[in-house]
Point group: C2
Chain length 192, copies 2
DNA sequence: TGCTAAGCGGAGGGGGCCTCCGTATTGTAT
DNA sequence: ATACAATACGGAGGCCCCCTCCGCTTAGCA
């Protein structure tokens, strides 16, 4: 009905961009210190920004998590390719899963959100899943080709299982590694 | 200082006992319908009881969980002995773990609380842990003796891993069973 | 029937989630 | 330099939850 006022989308306002960064930084710190269930009001307070501003930018906690962790999740995926180059097939897969577990522990409850999200349909998590899948599938298929992983296993099952490891709270790193070792044994083909 | 008025502890009053039962029933239903994070006020409402009454009886959510699930947890433990009698060592262990997973799925988030509690120090959960440990250890040691499980594995690690399976939300039963199969393979000794 | 320990229930303080809208700021057009 | 939208800000307020505290009620003994 009304005339489309300006077809060209205006660039983000300077103050908006500044506050966005402040919020993501504050959230990153707060999540690291107190876990991902820090109250959003606390985060707004830390960022020196009104709660309204936070909610305008990030409609819910998940949106904020996405912004905070997008880089790190990407880096987890990227690591897969390094392992694929430098290590033998099974070792590469094992190393990647181990780094996945280690990451999950250090970031506390992120792994919970993440693993739960492997079956969700948020925009972001979808594309995240694609990345993880691509990286993991590379490692898995190599390991299968080398005859070191049973061919019928599905990547997503493995990921879910590994993700579950970090979900029990307060997992010690060596504890988690023991659990992962059991899983890794479970991947190998039965003796002929 | 004052005279101990009545050394004999009076029996619980009838209304108190009645309300206790009402609360546990209401909680059981509510937990089944909406998961264990149903608000306690909602539960009191369902029970037709004041919130104060709930809190006097159950100082926190965990206490209520305990009351609701004590029977069922016991029955999970008991099942172990049945399996031990009727099945071959490894199959008995597998069956028990499978029933554990199945139980966890049906009761939604109870498994989360439970598995987390395997490393906690609440009175109740301690004794629960003892029961689980006793039952599980029986099955595990038989399976080890039969040479079907690697001897260095610890029950608690296995339980934690299996518990993790149900933690990802919305796990389909057959999905969960696939994950459990991986774990079960991981228990077996490597080929000689 | 009377009395008191035991039990009841809900108001209220603290806090988190999220929305809404009056006010302030930015950047562009004149 | 100035005016004026478009954009963004921020916090009050509604709603819900957790949990505590204490004046009122009731069961059950004597």
């Amino acid at each position: 009905m009304g005339s489309t006022p300006l077809p060209s989308t205006r660039p983000t306002r300077a103050d908006a961009a500044r506050n966005y960064d402040l919020l993501v930084s504050a959230a990153r710190e707060a999540f690291a210190e107190h876990g991902t269930d820090t109250s959003l009001e606390e985060i707004a307070r830390r960022a020196g920004v009104g709660i309204g501003t936070l909610y305008r930018r990030f409609p819910n906690r998940t949106a904020l998590l996405e912004a905070v962790y997008v880089d790190e999740i990407q880096s987890v995926c990227d690591r897969a390719y390094g392992f694929a180059e430098r290590l033998e097939p099974f070792d590469a897969l094992a190393a990647w899963l181990r780094s996945f577990v280690g990451y999950g522990i250090s970031k506390k409850s992120l792994a919970v959100e993440l693993t739960a999200a492997l079956g969700k349909d948020s925009q972001f998590f979808q594309s995240c899943k694609v990345n993880v899948q691509e990286a993991g599938e590379l490692l898995l298929s190599k390991a299968k080709a080398a005859g070191e992983v049973r061919p019928e296993l599905e990547l997503m099952d493995i990921m879910r299982l590994v993700g579950g490891i970090t979900m029990g709270r307060d997992m010690e790193p060596d504890e988690a590694n023991r659990l992962l070792d059991i899983v890794l044994c479970g991947l190998r083909p039965a003796a002929p």
